[in-house]
Symmetry: C2
């Protein structure tokens, strides 16, 4: 392999695949980045065996030449060093030449590195994906769906399926659900132009994979093709392929958790409510479980309070836009409420309660495509 | 104590004194901030017993009223909670009222906190400072002096005096020296208008104190009065007092370490040289001691190189502006060189070598007030 490449393009590509590279892998070659050059361009791959990212840099694009290819070939280079070196090199182009035993010369300006490389034949192959179940989604919408659900996955390995987000597809609609069994986040979206026959369920994507995917979808990404198989999911953008393994096991049926009736219903301004909860949580954090109390003082005014005997007390008053139904007296985790309110993206929300020990629902006032559920805490 | 105070002024003042408050103190009341209110204004104090910071907020300034005083008094409040609470409060003013047993009501808008307070009588007194040895210095110049020397203090407690910066004052000049016994940084400055009789030596200020002092000197600070006593130093800005204890012991005589002759002298562009060293250090970090080699290839071109058998090799070529004297072959810590070059503030530097195992000097080409010394490492 021998080529010259635009340094900025190389930096961006390495940055993307680096997101899949873990320094704590048990497979030494996975601390490296695979680089392959042919007449089309340069292909970089990083993987931690759960997530694999492939990034392509074409020889030229939009009348700009990015790569001058002298000799096709491939090599695996230590990801951390390679990435730090190219970021610090002095000139706008980088010359890369693989020599004896995969030792790779990296030249730029008056700077020359000789980096020990590894045999690319030893690098694991990417999974073969059959493109049977696939659909196309707006990249920014996909980021939204991820943001609005992934925070609710479980961080405990007690029930591994709960560390993932469950995707299902039916009647042209995708539904994304996450729960750690104390709270739940659900978002569904109609996918325009999806095949009528497309249908799947129990596609459990690790939360970590979705977080990394979110980071490599930039503002310039328009569309993403999603391909679902038995045990892998593939996200395809223009020059990027993102593979994630799926979690084994059956995701619980969460539809039964969601109450259908409501005893108390309040409408409140999201930002004002969030800020009051955030202040109350300053002391709640010290107490057990980060719990705050919510009661109504009259038919419009509510009080959020928290008490940490060692530190002090806090009382927040907030005016609801409307308050209907029974008197309210409930305690819940401030952290769960903050997580839900920060991702709900609505100026006004409606909260439906069905009793002090029943889960309650938070939704935007004018949007039924998103739903957050929180289990209260027993304190009254 | 009962008052209303401008929230922004209070936040700034608390932020400043917070720099002296440590959460790992053995004296519980020092996790708090002392607040005293009288007819002049509000005085806040934070301390970790090594450093104490006092910050004053006047009732009014520049025709703006900052404080409405209802009742003078004082209290000690938990620093971390108090600071987080006032930053999150909803309105522009904060009402503070000390009630029974130092419980303190903090009100702003519809938000009300009751924070457990402590008895201010139990808060340690600030040291009494006799203002005999004092001088005035430009605040930004003081920051420079700190930055150009403090990085070279020792981080090891083997010789405690070396964890401080040594200040001495003679003939109207202040000299600041720091060394960890492998490198040394020296800066001297003429103080305009200092008293002819002012003279001191062996004033050893903990490096940590100077770093914290640097952080609270903002761009609006013009002048600082420095008062030196037997075991304390006091820095006085307009509304801020910064006390630091001095280190006990005798600082070593560093003047003998500085070579007076030179066998090889090179002049080189600082930035270019720094960047080449930074790249070479990418691999050097892996090897032992972060060592790079410097040799001259001909009478102008120098090569910086580093070799880490596990990772690879790097060669950097750099053109000197001038090269005089014997051939050069020397190895040194890339980290020490980077630290020195980053603080030297000159576009061109002169480096004087007196042999592969003798300390070498780095100075700006046209400025003798700053000097950096580095001990080489034996590798040739």
């Amino acid at each position: 392999m021998h080529l010259s490449i635009d340094r900025q393009r190389l930096i961006e590509a390495v940055q993307d695949v680096l997101k899949a590279v873990s320094s704590r892998t048990t497979i030494p070659i996975l601390t490296g980045i695979k680089m392959e050059a042919d007449e089309e361009g340069v292909r970089l791959t990083g993987s931690d065996s759960d997530i694999s990212i492939e990034r392509f840099v074409p020889l030229e694009e939009n009348d700009e030449q990015y790569i001058e290819l002298h000799q096709p070939g491939s090599v695996v280079l230590q990801a951390r060093f390679f990435s730090e070196i190219i970021r610090k090199l002095p000139a706008d182009t980088v010359e890369l030449e693989v020599m004896d035993r995969f030792s790779t010369k990296i030249k730029s300006g008056q700077s020359e590195f000789n980096l020990n490389g590894l045999d690319p034949e030893e690098y694991p192959r990417l999974p073969l994906i059959e493109e049977q179940n696939s659909f196309q989604i707006d990249a920014q919408l996909l980021k939204h769906i991820i943001r609005q659900t992934v925070f609710a996955v479980s961080t405990s390995e007690t029930r591994p399926v709960l560390t993932g987000v469950n995707w299902s597809f039916k009647n042209g609609k995708i539904e994304s659900v996450a729960t750690d069994s104390h709270r739940l986040a659900l978002r569904h979206v109609t996918i325009e132009g999806a095949s009528d026959t497309l249908s799947f369920s129990n596609v459990i994507i690790p939360g970590k994979s979705l977080n990394e995917l979110s980071k490599i979808i930039d503002d310039h990404t328009d569309w993403i093709d999603v391909v679902v198989t038995e045990n892998q999911i593939l996200f395809k953008a223009k020059h990027t392929l993102f593979y994630s393994r799926l979690l084994d096991g059956n995701y619980p049926d969460t539809s039964k958790l969601i109450p259908t009736e409501s005893k108390t219903s309040i409408v409140v301004a999201t930002k004002q409510f969030l800020q009051a909860i955030e202040r109350a949580s300053l002391l709640a954090r010290e107490g057990r479980n980060n719990v705050v109390k919510l009661v109504n003082l009259d038919d419009k005014t509510m009080e959020i309070s928290s008490n940490s005997p060692e530190v002090g007390k806090v009382f927040e008053q907030i005016e609801a836009d409307s308050f209907d139904g029974e008197e309210l007296k409930i305690s819940f985790s401030a952290k769960y409420m903050i997580d839900a309110l920060r991702t709900i993206d609505a100026t006004s929300i409606i909260i439906d309660f069905t009793g002090a020990m029943r889960p309650f629902l938070i939704r935007p006032v004018d949007d039924s495509s998103i739903l957050q559920l929180i289990l209260p805490v027993r304190t009254f």
